[in-house]
């Protein structure tokens, strides 16, 4: 056994995207010595890919906006399945979190009167997304990164050491969380560069590891998105919720094959882009679901008027929530009305002058020009749905971001509940700021309230080491790439955007087989920066999380948001209040149980009209509404 490098911190944040960095800033601001652990280099996390913007009801463009409108939009987008307390905190705190970024040096696009500009996006009633062209995520992560640097500069002045209170461990992967007497005591991992092992002794761990996109073949997500946080949480005894809900972003590139899945920002539609099929028809008018009939235009004329007069016209159906648009595109392609490369057409070239396109969508122009030889100022793009985001994640206490394991917190995509069954575009960046901060705060308070610190059990660290080295000891198995490709194909084909019971059952059988093959994966070569080894370890996480997705998808016999069952196509009110909770059973299996959602606080329920709530709720759930007994007799 080799020597294990050791560090001691108050708070260890796993993940260096927006949520992780914001959590670390908060923990450090509360006087906690904080470590940030990043699988990649600092500044490269997936947050950088966010394009459209960060939703916050600042009301800079339309003064009618406020937190209540944002809250309502978020709940509608999630089909009233959201954890309402998270949605409330999110809507209330998002403006402060965005304004705070300006004090860190962020430079958002401006309105004419010098405020932060806000753009339209799917499901948002008013222009709400703070943005910088179509590279908002880059601005956000760079701003947070630079804030960390500024804190390090303060520490340098005080102590002579930049890293005395906050240190980034780049290219370092955590493979196990360590517990002592049932509470978090540390984390174990390896340096990707050297392959050396590293142990963090810490009473509080914040998971901010993002999503699970690499379970699927076609995804907007980078290699890092292997569900590490989801799996670490499960193995530590925490629970996951909502894992059946996966967001397939409606518009990603479909050609050439090597770029299939790369995101085409929703801003293209927010700024006026339209979707058409091979017959030249703007097909989204045919796909407005009943629950949204009041809010969306039914003619091209009204849609077009909305861009200049949003108060007197309804919004274009291209701006329906993402789940609706993704399903519509899928149906058009299936019906034989797709584009030559198997998507549909998304056009801005006939909608706005070339110079406006270049100004508003510079990176989309660049991306299509370089990667597909398509000039989007002259011709339409071809786009189709791709795995983008997981609504499900660690079950947390909304105010503190704490999981059910003492000392373990989660924020951002790895946390579940906030977005219900479907996330609105722009609510991700605001989510990670709001709950990143809350997780940092929650962890700091937890550490403050702690008596003696739990000591790491040496045997656990050695067991983690043995487990990590297993792929080097195996003989006769396959390489990790082969097994991973098969896992992705399985999930894509059988637990993808449209699901059927028998297909999910088949997927679960295949996953059992893949679990055996994953345990036997063989790695060639050395421990220094060996991507084959890294993938072998990530593969275990992907497998466990795949089981969660498949089991929950099989259990939920209705269609809602990011879970569409071909055999149960209708949204069922009796399922709205049922959470599917997953926990680990051994190394590579999970168990599922049902749990009732906490009913919404009456003052929040009263923010909606009873008629709208009836579309989602069962009659007996609505007794507390302000419409009172009238409501009850209506539904009886």
């Amino acid at each position: 056994m080799s020597e294990i490098e050791r560090h001691s911190y108050d708070v260890v944040v796993i993940g260096a995207g927006g949520a992780g960095l914001r959590a670390a800033i908060e923990a450090r601001a509360r006087g906690k010595r904080t470590a940030i652990i990043s699988k990649s280099l600092l500044g490269k996390a997936h947050t950088v890919m966010a394009e459209g913007g960060c939703a916050a009801s600042m009301g800079n463009v339309n003064s009618n906006d406020n937190w209540m409108v944002h809250f309502r939009d978020t709940m509608r987008g999630g089909k009233f399945f959201n954890n309402w307390r998270m949605a409330e905190l999110h809507a209330k705190e998002a403006p402060d979190r965005v304004w705070e970024l300006e004090t860190y040096g962020a430079l958002f696009d401006r309105t004419k009167d010098g405020k932060i500009s806000q753009r339209n996006f799917g499901g948002h009633t008013y222009p709400r997304l703070a943005h910088v062209g179509d590279r908002t995520g880059l601005e956000l992560i760079r701003t947070l990164q630079q804030k960390i640097v500024s804190l390090q500069q303060e520490d340098f002045k005080a102590t002579g050491d930049y890293e005395s209170n906050i240190k980034v461990f780049h290219e370092c992967t955590i493979t196990d969380l360590l517990k002592t007497d049932g509470v978090i005591s540390g984390a174990f991992g390896y340096w990707r560069g050297t392959g050396g092992f590293i142990l963090f002794e810490a009473p509080a761990v914040v998971l901010a590891t993002g999503g699970i996109g690499k379970l699927f073949k076609t995804t907007t997500n980078s290699w890092e998105y292997t569900g590490d946080g989801h799996a670490l949480a499960l193995r530590a005894g925490a629970t996951l919720i909502n894992m059946e809900f996966i967001q397939f972003h409606p518009t990603a590139m479909v050609w050439p094959p090597s770029v299939k899945g790369i995101l085409v920002t929703e801003s293209v539609r927010g700024d006026g882009g339209v979707l058409t099929n091979s017959e030249g028809k703007r097909f989204m008018f045919d796909y407005i679901p009943d629950v949204f009939k009041e809010q969306y235009a039914t003619t091209a004329e009204e849609s077009d008027r909305w861009y200049t007069d949003p108060d007197n016209n309804r919004r274009p159906p291209e701006l329906l929530p993402r789940d609706e648009v993704a399903r519509a595109i899928n149906s058009e392609v299936k019906a034989g009305r797709g584009s030559p490369h198997g998507g549909v057409f998304l056009d801005v070239s006939s909608r706005m002058p070339a110079e406006v396109i270049l100004k508003k969508l510079p990176s989309m122009y660049h991306q299509f020009k370089v990667l597909a030889d398509v000039d989007i100022t002259k011709e339409p793009m071809q786009v189709g749905p791709t795995c983008h985001y997981v609504m499900g994640g660690v079950e947390v206490e909304p105010d503190t971001a704490s999981s059910n394991i003492s000392g373990l917190f989660a924020a951002g995509e790895v946390a579940g509940g906030m977005h219900g069954s479907n996330r609105l575009g722009g609510n991700s960046l605001s989510d990670l700021l709001v709950f990143g901060r809350r997780a940092g705060l929650g962890a700091a308070n937890y550490v403050d309230g702690l008596g003696a610190r739990p000591a790491v059990n040496e045997a656990d660290a050695r067991a983690a080491e043995t487990r990590a080295l297993l792929p080097f000891k195996n003989e006769g198995g396959e390489n990790a790439y082969t097994v991973h490709l098969e896992l992705q194909q399985t999930m894509n084909d059988l637990v993808g955007i449209i699901r059927k019971g028998e297909e999910i059952e088949l997927a679960l059988k295949k996953l059992e087989d893949l679990a055996i093959r994953t345990r036997q994966v063989v790695v060639e070569g050395h421990r220094e920066f060996n991507p084959g080894w890294h993938l072998a370890l990530d593969l275990r996480n992907m497998l466990l999380v795949s089981m969660c997705v498949a089991k929950a998808a099989l259990e939920r016999v209705e269609s809602r948001g990011g879970h569409t069952r071909d055999d149960y196509p209708v949204m069922d009110s009796d399922w709205r209040h049922v959470l599917l909770v997953l926990s680990a059973r051994g190394e590579d299996d999970v168990r599922l149980r049902r749990q009732e959602q906490v009913p919404m606080r009456p003052d929040l329920l009263d923010l909606f009209e009873l008629d709208e709530l009836k579309k989602y709720y069962t009659g007996e759930e609505l007794g507390g509404h302000r419409a009172g007994t009238a409501g009850e007799s209506d539904t009886a």
Partner: protein
Amino acid sequence: MSYIAHFRVWRGDSNKGELVDYNVEVNEGEVVLDVIHRLQQTQTGDLAVRWNCKAGKCGSCGAEINGRPRLMCMTRMSIFDKSEALTVTPMRTFPVIRDLVTDVEFNYQKAREIPAFAPPAGVAPGEYRMEQVDVERSQEFRKCIECYLCQNVCHVVRDHEENKPAFAGPRFLMRIAELDMHPLDAADRKRAAQEEHGLGYCNITKCCTEVCPEHIKITDNALIPLKERVVDRKYDPLVWLGSKIFKRTPANA
């Protein structure tokens, strides 16, 4: 449409290494990173390469392709002659960790040495007001994805290890320009740009601008204007007089 390409990939670590030949399939529309990934998947599972987004947004996959610094994810195979060997080597200015992965810690150190944004006194969060036209200059520089290709190509440090301590490199001199042009930044950064971060080493050969995958006009819009601001300050008679009379030290000292 598919063909077999001849790749020569640098394999090794900080001690030694060599170009290794591979014949590998290339399909329509692919970029260099796709081919490197195919090598990993089919021929050499331990080939080290750094990448993330595969869409030109994160700046992780910089390397030298036939000697030119590029992002592997944004370099289409179709720009190369099918019959010629394609040579892929790690960025030369930074120490190799393994294969195509280099140690870019130099850049993180330099980032830490640039004083952070100084918020204006007395302006509360939410009260910041800036005109679009005024933020645009700095916004251009904030497009930077920190791929460090400019740092890699800059002749001041490319083959001159001895210059590294005194020179922040184009990326971080541009960061100073960005902050100096920020409408609400409260610090004065001009003296430090010259005296602490080595702006004077830059003799505007524009190599950095040429390799920038974001097409930021680093030299014309950041470095030259910053040089002009430094000069304006240095030779401004009022500033000179003021500093003598009030014994004022520069704001950044």
